[in-house]
Symmetry: C2
Subunit: 215 residues, 2 copies
Amino acid sequence: MNDESTKERILLTAGPIFAKNGFQATTVREISEAADVNLASINYYFGDKQRLYVEVIKAARDNQSGQMSFSAIPSEAPPNMLLEKFVAILLRKLGVGIEPDWQMQLLVREFLHPGEACQEIVEAYFRPYFEMLLKIIDRLANVPLTSAVRLQLGFSLIGQCLHYRLAGPIIHMFVEKVEWEENFGTEELARHIAQFTIGGIAAVVSRAEPTVNRN
Amino acid sequence: MNDESTKERILLTAGPIFAKNGFQATTVREISEAADVNLASINYYFGDKQRLYVEVIKAARDNQSGQMSFSAIPSEAPPNMLLEKFVAILLRKLGVGIEPDWQMQLLVREFLHPGEACQEIVEAYFRPYFEMLLKIIDRLANVPLTSAVRLQLGFSLIGQCLHYRLAGPIIHMFVEKVEWEENFGTEELARHIAQFTIGGIAAVVSRAEPTVNRN
DNA sequence: ATTGCAGTTAAACAGTTGTTTAATAGACTG
DNA sequence: CAGTCTATTAAACAACTGTTTAACTGCAAT
């Protein structure tokens, strides 16, 4: 049994547990038992619990970087369709309506309570996809936007998607069961969010560009 | 020193601490020290830590119910203005751009990780204001909407506002300092979100009501 | 004066937690 | 073969955590 196997096994086991429990509520005993390694191995390989966590975060980031691929979307497609596809993929990755993989769950946790690895994650992972979204927004707007407006449009869309991920149980309380099943699947939500956002962009653009008279 | 004073003091002291740390990371020793009461008092008055937490949540709810008042908004005002005012107030209550009071901070924590008091909070606190938002949306839409569409429109607005609250530090990483100061104050965000949402509503309505030809 | 109750308290308790220690075994090198 | 290094391990350690216990005080009622 070589060192890569034990160390690797700890990493792979710790990920889902940290994702489920968060850092504070996860014990090194739970991890060691689940990984079937001795308790002291964690300190041997990682130094302490916090450093294990940081390594797990980095592993989650590295694992996700190659997977949240939007290459399935043809870039010559109309921007409306681009946006809807982007939203659908984002909702799925966030785990709306399905169980998210632990990497994304962990990244969302880190996102909400930024720790020492956060800056890195943002640059390596979130920014490329946010830039992609901003490009879609540029095409939808069809006029030059100030940086601030452009960012705010991006955040407006991300906020809608995140809401379904973060407040899922609460949202569930406001929606009847039948209604939920018919109207709140991932595709339906993606359609709604995309439509809403397209309208939102048009409204903000028409306000931001006084020389364009749309009425 | 009567019992109301000690019990009350524990409650008032525990609130901000639970809000800052969350339930798991808050120790009864921290609370008892901060409240300057004996450790055993917490068990004496509340039975255990979990029950103290539930009482604190209820106190936060009761404290907020009377305070998130939208009565400053004249109900005969145009719906556009109603919406913008609603958003501005909501952002402020969520603590966007300012330090939230501990009650709202605690309620948001509960919102993200629903516990045993959650159903009650939703009914007592969130639903009334959500219903108010839905009425504003009705007026903006100006046609009858299905329940699902109506709810989704409401969630789209709430999601945008919550995003600024929950992901504030991450958002801050995407925005230049100057830009942040000029364009991301509460009033600016409220204007953006309101405009975006008005446009979004119009777009969704025009899709949801095929007999309305807007082009 | 005695008893009962409520409130307060320090200490003790039992369990939990992350970390450290020291021993052991295996592999490799000179 | 001896020494060194790495990996593994059980036990111990020290601190922390929520809870319980028993003693004490003050007050009110009899």
